[in-house]
């Protein structure tokens, strides 16, 4: 059936602020859906409160509502816009829940709005444990076995019939699953069962077979209105059941299933999808397999686009959200073409000829006292994906992508001691694959490691094989490594840094690089084509591997590379991807070929039809340099991709590679506290007294001379990591010691803390002529001391005098000119009385760029990117392109994911903890969105 003609205007619900478990993958899917629907000629109305998204850009939808995601706000929009249909499956659980709420109220029907892409009743079935269980039983799908027990005796009988311990017990009708858990040993049995029976108001417990340690798989499906179903991707979890799939290292395609086992899974998944309503769209099904007897059970089904669908899209090249959106408006799969080949059908199952690894990224260091053990509750804040021709290559590339200081899967530092490795492996921690490697390095056997981890032996075998390679290298000097050995190492994903560490002699990364290049060992760039090479593909989506031919042709156009921001983390999230996407578009509009390098599967920037060319690669020096040497761009833009990209500026500069925008020397000047303070002195700009120290003793001396309270922090960190406010000598001692345990060899900065100061964030753009455009001045509601990312910011300022604002502007312009900023800059200031103090200046895109852009209605990042490439602000100004459309105030509210860490104290300080943000427009300061945070502004301030 071709597209529906009975609908013209479609409302798409976004997923709101980023929280753990619901992140920027929904910006990616929502953006894809919007673009696909507009291309089909539909008018798209979008609602999302998250300003840091591409989907809320005028380039994405026809009408955008930056409004709260609540039923009343949706009603208001519906009544104004009168859409014919609503597509709620692109906005995660938030979007679905809203659509569901309004469905229960009979609202959609009353308004004549058709719900497309989902069957709301189907959602209820999947979310109600008993309904789901009954349905699966009805269609003959096996699940974890269970039985109700009403006494200890009955429970013991049930346990025996289930094959013994461990089992899971779930007391009936208790709130939030209270009293539930795993019974591991006979010792706990009586106590836990009795407690469960007592807690249950009806005094019964469900005794369920424990699937902890089983193999876990995920299938991504698409279905059309003609009931055609295809499997886009199969994902195998390296971490077995017991660790949330969002916290698991996962691999695509499946590695350890025979065809019979896989087809059984495929058949079951299709049967499950067909059993839950008749919607056209995407769906995700999870399975567990008992490693002891091979029994397969269904775990759950999610009838919507999910985090895994974003991963599956990037892993296969198949644009799931785009196709799902078109299916939702009536197309059938056989009517659509595969976007990647442009000639073959979209109704097929992608075949891939590489291995994809996803590793989540966590931010435990931000949360003191957090329980780092991975459980069934997701804790990761972001993820990386990597592509290699083998599992080992892909795994090591994923570790290089994580940007946590590793140059691969270990082999770049001393091995931790045997007891510490053993202790670390005992539970599911975030670094499990690395600890498996370390255990093998200590001579652990396959059986030992399997018994502890339950990671499938096939993965363990691959990792152990690496140890043999490494041991062979330990006796060799670099010059003795043969070209065959070198190629073999590179094919297993080893970075030059790792090889430099592994060989017997002291060599540098650069020496390894030069040596292997002289051996003609260099990477090739291969195409992601959905079909394993069977058909020619048209999409410019590449990855590197040490193969024998490149498939990435070099055009004769001038090129600009944009470095992406890597995995999401607290302090560097979707905001930077937003800037990168605008950077890409600006580069294209300035007539260059835009080349994107990034490794985050959840983002819009890694969609293959955003840049002219996408390299899905770690933003890791060696990999970036390989691409630069292949593409020979005119230059590289580093100021959009956060610290990830910025960190490489020095090395690029050393190599004589052009950096578009502020030069590396001047960026460094801003980062260097001593030199920056001299500049401020020279410009006659006040700054709080400060000092630097390299030892605890020194730090105390500096603190005593400056006075208290004093801000203590390590230099060169992101999101205020390790930052504390000390009120006395003892605290300084303690905090500095803490910093040195975490970050040895770091310089400590100590600034006088300006008590009761008002914190100000300024965003600005400067062009090569010295023209400075102040894009926004934001006043924080919370006092200085709360990290700017965690503060409620108001644009424009609400309580500053004219003269103070004049000072703020003057200082910003003076600093921009002195640092010869080209492009974006962010300055942080504190106002105390009439005095304006400058705290720091960052000549790069800041977290607030998208907020300011959405508040003012101006494409700040795009204008800045054009300025970087030579455009003049004057020309924009003359066209009126710098005139803000903001009336009243725009407020940026931080959003936290506290509920994921119940053991952590909810307090705010100089270290950033929020995961997302929303934007609210208010006409007056009497609005509760201003009043509430204002009244509570001091409440959560800690140190």
């Amino acid at each position: 059936m071709p597209r529906r003609t009975d609908i013209h205007k479609i409302l798409l619900i976004g997923s709101g602020p980023i929280i753990i478990g619901q992140a920027c993958e929904f910006d990616y899917s929502g953006t894809q859906a919007c673009r696909a629907l507009r291309k089909e000629g539909y008018e798209v109305v979008l609602v999302n409160s998250n300003p840091a998204t591409i989907m809320t850009d005028p380039i994405t939808a026809d009408r955008i509502y930056l409004e709260e995601l609540t039923a009343p706000s949706i009603r208001k929009i519906v009544e104004k816009e009168r859409p014919d249909a609503v597509l709620p499956t692109m906005g995660g659980q938030t979007g679905l829940n809203l659509a569901d709420e309004l469905q229960r109220q009979g609202y959609w029907e009353a308004q004549g709005v058709k719900v497309i892409g989902v069957d709301i009743d189907a959602i209820h079935i999947t979310e109600d444990r008993q309904q789901f269980r009954d349905l699966m039983e009805e269609i003959g799908v096996d699940q974890a076995r269970s039985q109700v027990a009403r006494s200890l005796l009955e429970a013991k009988e049930v346990i025996q019939s289930l094959g013994g311990l461990p089992v899971v017990i779930r007391p009936s009708f208790t709130l939030g699953g209270a009293g539930g858990g795993i019974i591991w040993s006979p010792r706990e049995l009586e106590r836990k069962v009795m407690r469960g029976l007592e807690l249950s108001p009806v005094h019964e417990v469900l005794v369920e077979e424990c699937v902890y340690g089983w193999k876990e798989f995920e299938l991504e499906l698409l279905r059309d209105s003609n009931d055609n179903v295809i499997i886009i991707c199969t994902i195998e979890n390296v971490d077995p059941m017991g660790v949330h799939t969002g916290d698991s290292v996962t691999v695509a395609p499946s590695q350890t299933l025979t065809d019979k086992q896989f087809q059984h899974m495929r058949d079951t998944a299709i049967r499950m999808m067909r059993s839950i309503g008749t919607f056209a769209g995407g769906c995700n099904v999870q399975f567990g397999i008992n490693p002891v007897d091979g029994r397969m059970i269904a775990i759950e089904i999610n009838p919507r686009v999910s985090r895994s669908s974003a991963l599956a899209s990037k892993a296969t090249g198949y644009p799931i959200a785009k196709v799902a959106a078109r299916l939702a408006v009536g197309y059938t799969l056989d009517e659509l073409k595969n976007d990647v080949t442009e000639t073959t059908s979209a109704c097929f199952e992608p075949a891939i000829d590489y291995v994809v690894t996803k590793i989540p990224r966590w931010n435990f260091e931000k949360f003191e006292g957090v329980d780092e053990e991975l459980t069934t509750q997701m804790k990761a804040v972001g993820e990386v994906m990597s592509i290699g021709r083998t599992f080992t290559e892909s795994l090591q590339k994923a570790w290089q992508s994580l940007e946590i200081g590793y140059a691969g899967l270990g082999a770049d530092r001393e091995n931790p001691s045997r007891p510490s490795v053993r202790e670390r492996l005992r539970r599911s921690y975030w670094d499990r694959t690395l600890q498996i490697r370390n255990a093998f390095m200590h001579g652990a056997s396959m059986d030992e490691v399997y018994d502890i981890t339950r990671v499938d032996p096939w993965f363990l075998q691959r990792i152990r094989m690496l140890i043999d390679l490494e041991k062979a290298l330990q006796r060799l000097r670099l010059q003795d490594v043969t070209p065959e050995q070198m190629l073999n190492l590179k094919q297993h994903g080893y970075s030059d840094v790792q090889i430099a560490w592994l060989v017997a002699d002291e060599v540098s990364e650069e020496e390894v690089r030069q040596y292997r290049l002289s051996q003609n060992v260099c990477p090739q760039f291969l195409l992601v084509d959905t079909c394993a090479g069977e058909f020619p593909a048209a999409t410019p989506y590449f990855y590197s591997s040490y193969e024998s031919a490149t498939e990435s042709p070099i055009s004769d156009r001038e090129k600009v590379i944009i470095l992406g921001s890597g995995p999401n983390r607290i302090g560097q999230g979707i905001e930077f991807d937003y800037s990168c996407v605008h950077g890409v578009q600006a580069v294209q509009e300035m007539g260059y070929e835009a080349i994107m390098i990034n490794c985050n599967p959840e983002t819009v920037s890694t969609d293959f039809d955003i840049a002219d060319k996408l390299y899905f690669e770690p933003v890791f020096w060696e990999r970036v340099l390989d691409i630069i040497e292949h593409e020979k761009p005119k230059g590289v833009i580093v100021q959009l991709g956060g610290q990830t990209a910025l960190k490489l500026a020095g090395k690029l500069s050393e190599r004589g590679i052009k950096i578009f925008g502020t030069s590396h020397e001047l960026m460094d000047l801003a980062e260097n506290r001593g030199k920056f303070s001299e500049i401020l002195k020279e410009l006659d700009i006040p700054f709080p007294p400060y000092g630097m120290a390299r030892t605890v003793y020194e730090a105390v001396r500096v603190a005593e001379s400056i006075g208290y309270p004093i801000l203590v922090r390590p230099s060169y960190v992101l999101g205020g990591q390790g930052m504390r406010i000390a009120i006395n000598k003892e605290e300084v001692e303690r905090y500095v010691t803490d910093i040195y345990t975490l970050l040895p060899d770091n310089e400590i900065l100590l600034d006088l803390f300006l008590n009761n100061g008002i914190e100000i964030d300024v965003d600005a753009v400067r062009d090569a002529d010295g023209d400075v455009w102040i894009t926004g001045i934001m006043q924080h509601i919370e006092p200085a001391g709360v990290h700017s990312g965690d503060s409620t910011a108001v644009l424009p300022p609400y309580s500053l005098s004219e003269s103070v604002i004049e000072d703020i502007k003057k200082y910003t312009i003076d600093i921009a000119n002195r640092l010869e900023v080209l492009g974006l800059m962010n300055v942080q200031m504190v106002v105390q009385g009439d005095m304006v103090y400058v705290i720091e200046a960052n000549p790069r895109a800041s977290r607030t760029v998208p907020f300011v852009a959405k508040a003012t209605g101006l494409p700040v990042a795009r204008i800045a990117s054009k300025v970087i490439l030579g455009a003049k602000l004057k020309d924009f100004r003359d066209e009126g392109a710098l005139d803000s459309s903001l009336k009243g105030y725009a407020i940026k509210e931080p959003v936290f994911s506290w509920s994921k860490f119940p053991e952590v104290r909810k307090e705010l300080g100089p270290e950033m903890k929020s995961t997302g943000e929303t934007i609210v427009f208010v006409d007056a300061l009497t609005d509760s969105h201003f009043k509430r945070p204002y009244e509570m502004r001091n409440l959560y301030l800690s140190r």
């Binding site: 003609n226 350890t256 087809q263 083998t390 079909c531």
Partner: protein, 367 residues
């Protein structure tokens, strides 16, 4: 593991030579180099008689991961002439596995090569067309190997079914259900399993069996199997199918059997530039409008220009390149498909064809 990697070379008729490591048995073997994009089911592919004499290159890099098992075979021994892999797993992990794929290959004398850039070779074949090749761990001289590859007999115009058909008729399953006579041109075991699972009595006849001998068993259905080689050089088989059309017994053909039925009906068959080999091919059922994801393995195809409505209707079409995937014939009871509804490896979307065929067979009882 304590094994010394043994060097091996793969040489193509056009002069391309790549170096790798030997897997399976040591020695030398040649054939037409083709590729398969399935990500699971390597053992089913290696034992598929339709691949007889071909060198199989798997596009998925890791092969051998889950070992080998007798239940995963489509014939008693490997049928391909050699295996080409990017990253072979000697070590394996699967609860069901009986041995490693390496052992299985070695046991059956199947040679193979790993550590070669399969992607580059796939693109090469895609651009230059399928060609012959030789793999050797005994002769490592490039010029000599290329010469051997060039001298290897071409598949074009080659009759191969007689090499893989059974030597004597045998009963695969004996029940009271519909009696299916299978003409074996290299039948995959899963076709027999599928008929048997549906309650059929199945008897397998050598490909060259005279029709009267098969009819002597009084079958309810005549099935023409898949198999290797060029159907255009099988005049006896075509004549046999033509004769069968007159009997009124419903006919069903898969792959080579499909091509033979087309030829018997006067429809042409041509050799494709690059065949279809994988488990992800979309096929549209023209009657229901539904799409099946199918397993395919063929280098020849039915010529659409020679299909007229008096001869047959196109029942199934490939959505990627619009080639003919199924025919429903006029003038006699029967249909045929180019793809593999028995799967193994691959999706089970098309199993319904067996049921439809059996319905046809049971109806004809009263006809």
């Amino acid at each position: 593991m304590g094994f010394e990697p043994q060097s091996s070379k793969l040489a193509l008729a056009d002069g391309t030579v790549v170096v790798g490591t030997a897997i399976g048995a040591s020695g030398e073997s040649g054939g037409e180099l083709c590729f398969n994009t399935s990500m699971t089911g390597y053992q089913e592919i290696l034992t598929d008689p339709s691949y007889h004499g071909q060198i199989m290159m798997m596009t998925y890099p890791h092969i051998g991961n889950y070992g080998a098992h007798d239940d995963d075979t489509e014939a008693a021994k490997p049928m391909v002439s050699a295996l080409v892999v990017r990253a072979f797993s000697r070590e394996y992990s699967n609860l069901l596995a009986q041995e490693s794929l390496h052992n299985y290959m070695d046991k059956h004398g199947l040679v193979g090569i790993t550590g070669v850039d399969t992607r580059k070779l796939v693109l090469h074949i895609r651009e230059s067309g399928v060609m012959n090749a030789v793999i050797s761990s005994t002769d490592l001289d490039d010029a000599s190997l290329v010469e051997k590859a060039q001298a290897w007999p071409s598949m074009d115009g080659l009759e191969l079914a007689s090499r893989v058909t059974c030597s004597e008729p045998y009963t695969y399953s004996d029940t009271d259900g519909p009696r299916i006579a299978v003409y074996d041109f290299g039948v995959k075991t899963n076709i027999l399993r599928t008929f048997a699972a549906l309650g059929c009595s199945v008897k397998v006849f050598p490909g060259q069996t005279l029709l009267k001998d098969a009819l002597a068993w009084s079958p309810d259905g005549l099935f023409f199997s898949n198999g290797p080689g060029d159907p255009r050089v099988m005049p006896e088989a075509i004549a046999c199918v033509r004769e069968a059309m007159m009997t009124g017994i419903p006919l069903f053909g898969i792959c080579l059997g499909h091509q033979l039925m087309a030829l018997a009906q006067g429809i042409d068959v041509f050799k494709m530039y690059v065949g279809h080999r994988g488990a992800n091919q979309p096929v549209k059922n023209m009657k229901t409008g539904r799409v099946e994801v199918t397993t395919q393995n063929h280098g020849f195809s039915v010529d659409p220009d020679s299909v007229s409505s008096e001869l047959a209707n196109i029942s199934h079409m490939n959505l990627n390149d619009q080639t003919i995937e199924g025919l429903r014939f006029e003038g006699f009871q029967g249909f045929s498909v180019q793809y593999h509804p028995e799967a193994s490896p691959g999706p089970h979307d098309s199993r319904y064809l067996f049921e439809e065929y059996l319905q046809m067979c049971s109806k004809s009882d009263f006809g």
